[in-house]
Amino acid sequence: MNRRDFFRLASMAGIGASTAGLTGLVNAATPAQLGTVPTNTGISGRVVVIGGGMAGATVAKYLRLWGGTGVSVTLIERETAYNSNILSNLVLSGQRSMTSLQFGYSNLATRYGIRLVKGDVSAIDPVGHSVSLADGSKLPYDRLVVAPGIDFDTIAGLETPAAQARVLHAWKAGTQTTQLRNQLLAMKPGGVFAMTIPAKPYRCPPGPYERACVVADWLKKNRAGSKVIVLDANPGITAEPLAFTNAFEVVHKGVIEYHPGVSISSIDASTMTLNSNLGSIKANVINAIPAHKAGKVVIDNGLANVGGRWAGVDVLTYQSTAAPGIHVIGDASATTQPKAGHIANQEAKICADAIVRLLAGRSPDPSPITNSACYSPITADTASWLTAVFAYDPVSRTMQPVPGAAGEAAARSQDNYKEMIKWFNTLMEDSFA
């Protein structure tokens, strides 16, 4: 396939997908409301972005909005549309379809003049300032932003594709999410759904507990007598302890069985058995979320200088501490902030602002602030939330939670659930529309 075809593919796929995911919201906003790319800012440079997820799409958009037409932005993404992880637990309960969570890239091209390249980045040349795609083509850059999200460790026993097709993670939304929904549908009353939670850090701290709640709520109504066994590698609930303790002990009492401090030694996909320090556990469906690390492109290219798994960054610019001129944002970077989409969006804005300033010969903003916001469904129509504001601490050179500005909802509510849907639409608009 030649480059011209790549463009056609990327833009066509984008159009198709955007009508699915952004229905009802693209039409509501006019270009003036969304923002236009200014000309003659006096700033110029070539920026290449790897990965069009929550972080990558946002940084591409804001580089153009804040840098102007002189800053050329190329976004390289291997998929034809983005599958949102956020709200993907609702696919398991049948409340959302995966297509309704797809976001295309055509808005980024047509509204902001971002150049789209569909492809898989295999190598980064930090000296020659270029990236290589799997098809052999090369793209030069002045500044590179790496936003590939995460990859997984392999759990013992799940080495083969056949085993991986039976024991799903569904922690990168997409085909696996729909497959896990189908596995739930195939369960009989009185069945067992077992899930494993990896040790921190993993993406979306409340996400696994939220999943346990959504699945339990569905099983209660549709597969009576079934159980959700939660096997957590962490010493306790890592996020929203108030909401989830209440959910496990009151709302979904008798359905969810929560075990902290569990280590999984192996999983046998043929007999559907988990081997752990609690002994062997048999289940009808096993949803195993493996330990996380930064996306492969980070690890393969010498950027994972934190424990060999995550990219160390200076949080004033998100520049890699391993290679100059390269910025790493979103889940792949090692910061004190949670790995979450809302905060990935804000990291992207700080990074875009810093790149625009650096291209103009200025210094980055010395006191950035980020905010994290997460809504968690507890039942089919109630949700809880979690939030935190982080400010730059010049002494530790890290983002630290602002005292008194972090916490969770006092109680789950239907209002929170409605707000969650509104928040999802606006967050995705800010990132993809």
Binding site: L359, N425, E429
Partner: protein, 106 residues
């Protein structure tokens, strides 16, 4: 090829042309507007420059004192809703910068 695809293709190629004119760092450009990066913390829910009309309250164009006072009032609300919690994360000076920036958006 229909007109839409044509336009799309032209747009897609545009940055390519611009890319070839890459220059080195310069300081002739205007500094980023004060408060913009801070205010961008609002955009996830209130839209770019506070102009969203698909969800939460539109902020663009409200008077600076209105935004400033509202954010300060939120700080003492109990139990805090999510926005009340966010308001607790900013100093008075930062809230002033955010309010001034958003009030200038049209």
């Amino acid at each position: 090829m229909n007109q839409k695809t044509m336009r799309l293709r032209v747009l897609l190629w545009l940055p390519f042309a611009l890319a070839s004119t890459c220059v080195t760092a310069q300081t002739t450009s205007a500094a980023p507007p004060a408060g913009r990066l801070l205010a961008s913390n609002c955009f996830q829910c209130h839209g770019n420059n506070g102009k969203s009309n698909i969800g939460f309250e539109r902020l663009a164009g409200s008077s600076s004192s209105e935004i400033y006072n509202e954010l300060r009032e939120m700080r003492s609300k109990v139990p805090p809703k999510m926005m009340d919690m966010h308001a607790r994360g900013y100093s008075d000076a930062q809230i002033r910068l955010i309010a001034d920036y958003l009030s200038k958006q049209r």
